[in-house]
Amino acid sequence: MDKKITEEDVIKIAKLAKLELTKQEISRYSMELTEIIEYVQKLNTVKTTGLDPTVSVNGLCNISRSDQQIDYHQTPASLLGNVPRVKDNFIQVKRVIE
């Protein structure tokens, strides 16, 4: 398995992460990420046959309940107070579907 994170890899990852990087950053992150990924390689040497991945440490799982109407005593203004662009109590975003 590739232990080195190339600049090409960094560009791909940045795309997945929705981040824009400068040429300098791409080069720097290539080094930094490689160092970290190299460190965690020791996990490959561990025998884990017969073991399941841990999803939850305290063994809890999804809980469901029926729909209930609960009054949280909020106004549209209080809930929309942090929205960058509001129009008629709607959150305004750039066109999603071309």
């Binding site: 791909k12 929705k18 981040l19 930094e32 970290i36 996990l43 561990v46 440490v57 942090n82 750039k94």
Partner: protein
């Protein structure tokens, strides 16, 4: 000026010796007096004084005195609190006003506690020094040129400096215990699920815990008994039968068995820190307990497991910061994609980006099995190994951090070097067990913390034990 124990603070209020307003004024004045340490991002002067006024009125009208009536506290800036912005020390959340509060904060306030400020931290809790705060670094109360630790550095330093009697923080990989060790205070990380994570900005959802900073176990217990418990808003919270109670249960010390984690006393531990730790352990031994060296071989893998799982969960949790519904938004974006890219790129700091990228990598197609799934499976191995040791030992002991507080800028050369700070703390988060750092002494006037760990869900027992030893270990 030193705050008395929380119980006494409430007593004084109840008897009319002091008022909530006086307490808040003292706390706010303390913040100003200690501004050079840069422990807080924002203060809640108006709100705190208003709240204090109401509490004082209640007391004058002989209403029942709440358990934390008039006790001022500071909350790490990743707790959603009304009255001040919640930023998680990140530019991407500058000016964000929470529309609801963290359950832990609601619980504290319903018992009369008063939040006076939001503490500085590493942005999004990514770090071990507060050097990753997008705003400023919190200085160590014992040396202005050194870090207070992180990510809950502001919370730890605020208690060490006697600004407030207690503060709340979060611990995902050591972020309460490590700054507690660096600042000479008691830092408690409870079992995963002990305190609701509702209203606390998520970092690594299978690892995040909420805990306290204070000067002693009695105060730790007092606050933890109020914030712990099942919450319908967080379905990962433990049943109330595990809840921390504000009652010390005496222990028969001769029946207690302690395991010294052999791997934590290895080469990377500062020899002077080792001396302090071994001296503290010897003092405990002399109390008549059984103290043995134990080995947990898979513990050497803990840091690797953590630095795969945690960034993966971070990448997922930070995907919500997209500039659309809250947080920094690049308003001149030409299209949606541009809006996402620019908002996140401009808003996030360097460390957040690093962690998001490691996380995205280990979760990506072709790498998910090899890294993320593998790490989750090694996590199971670690849990099993700890369970095995806990069959024969009640508590585990060792240092909290390999060294004392480092100088600001000292660990900036490599990310990995900074990550190695967490080497003794991450295991407890991966396994979900309660862990605590207690002041144990000093090396060149810099504090050293002793770490104790207990079994998952047995937080009361761990606190009982710490109460027995806290006076004797320094």
């Amino acid at each position: 000026m030193s705050w008395p124990k929380i119980e006494s603070i409430v007593e004084s209020l109840s008897s009319g010796q002091t008022t909530a307003t006086e307490n808040v004024k003292v706390a706010l004045s303390n913040i100003k007096k200690n501004s050079q340490y840069q422990t807080v991002i924002s203060t809640l002067d108006k709100e705190a004084l208003e709240r204090a006024k109401l509490i004082d009125l209640d007391i004058l009208n002989n209403k029942k005195v709440a358990k934390l009536a008039g006790v001022p506290f500071i909350a790490k800036d990743n707790f959603l609190v009304f009255g001040a912005p919640t930023t998680a020390a990140s530019n991407i959340l500058k000016g964000f006003h929470a529309p609801y509060q963290a359950t832990a904060i609601d619980k504290l306030e319903s018992e009369g506690a008063i939040c006076v400020a939001k503490a500085n931290m590493d942005a999004f809790a990514h770090g071990s020094s507060t050097e990753n705060s997008d705003f400023f670094v919190t200085k160590n109360p014992y040396d202005l040129e050194r870090v207070a630790g992180g990510s809950s550095g502001g919370s730890a330093a605020s208690v060490a400096l006697d600004i407030v009697p207690f503060s709340v923080g979060t611990d995902t990989g050591g972020s309460i215990r490590q700054p507690a060790s660096f600042c000479n205070v008691v830092g408690f990380k409870p079992s995963y699920g002990m305190v609701s994570r509702s209203g606390v900005i998520a970092m690594g959802s299978s690892l995040d815990t909420i805990g306290t900073f204070s000067k002693n176990i009695a105060d730790t217990r007092y606050v933890m008994s109020i914030i712990s418990g099942r919450d319908p808003l967080d379905s990962t919270t433990l049943d109330d039968s595990f809840k921390i109670v504000n009652k010390h249960q005496k222990m028969t010390l001769s029946k207690i068995k302690i395991g010294i984690i052999k791997e934590y006393l290895a080469d990377d531990l500062n020899p002077d820190v080792k001396k302090v730790i071994l001296s503290a352990i010897n003092k405990i031994k002399r109390m008549g307990l059984v103290v043995d060296e134990v080995s947990i071989p898979s513990i050497d893998l803990a840091l690797s497991v953590y630095y795969v799982l945690c960034p993966a969960e971070v990448a997922s949790n930070l995907s919500r910061y997209d500039g659309q519904r809250f947080g920094y938004s690049y308003l001149e974006a030409s299209n949606l994609e541009d809006s996402y890219l620019k908002s996140r790129t401009i808003g996030f700091g360097d460390e957040a980006k690093t962690r998001i990228m490691i996380g995205s990598y280990v979760l990506s197609s072709g790498y998910y099995d090899a890294y993320y799934k593998k790490a989750q499976t090694v996590r199971t191995k670690l849990i099993n190994d700890f369970n095995q040791v806990f069959k024969n030992y009640d508590f585990l002991i060792g240092p909290t951090v390999p060294d004392v507080a480092f100088k600001i800028g000292e660990k900036s050369s490599s990310k990995l070097e900074m990550y190695l700070n967490d080497i003794m703390t991450v295991a407890a988060n991966l396994v979900g067990i309660p862990a605590i750092s207690l002041p144990a002494g000093f090396v060149n006037n810099l504090p050293v913390g002793l770490q104790l760990m207990g079994q998952i869900g047995k937080d009361n027992q761990l606190l009982d034990f710490c109460q027995e030893i806290e006076e004797n270990i320094c």
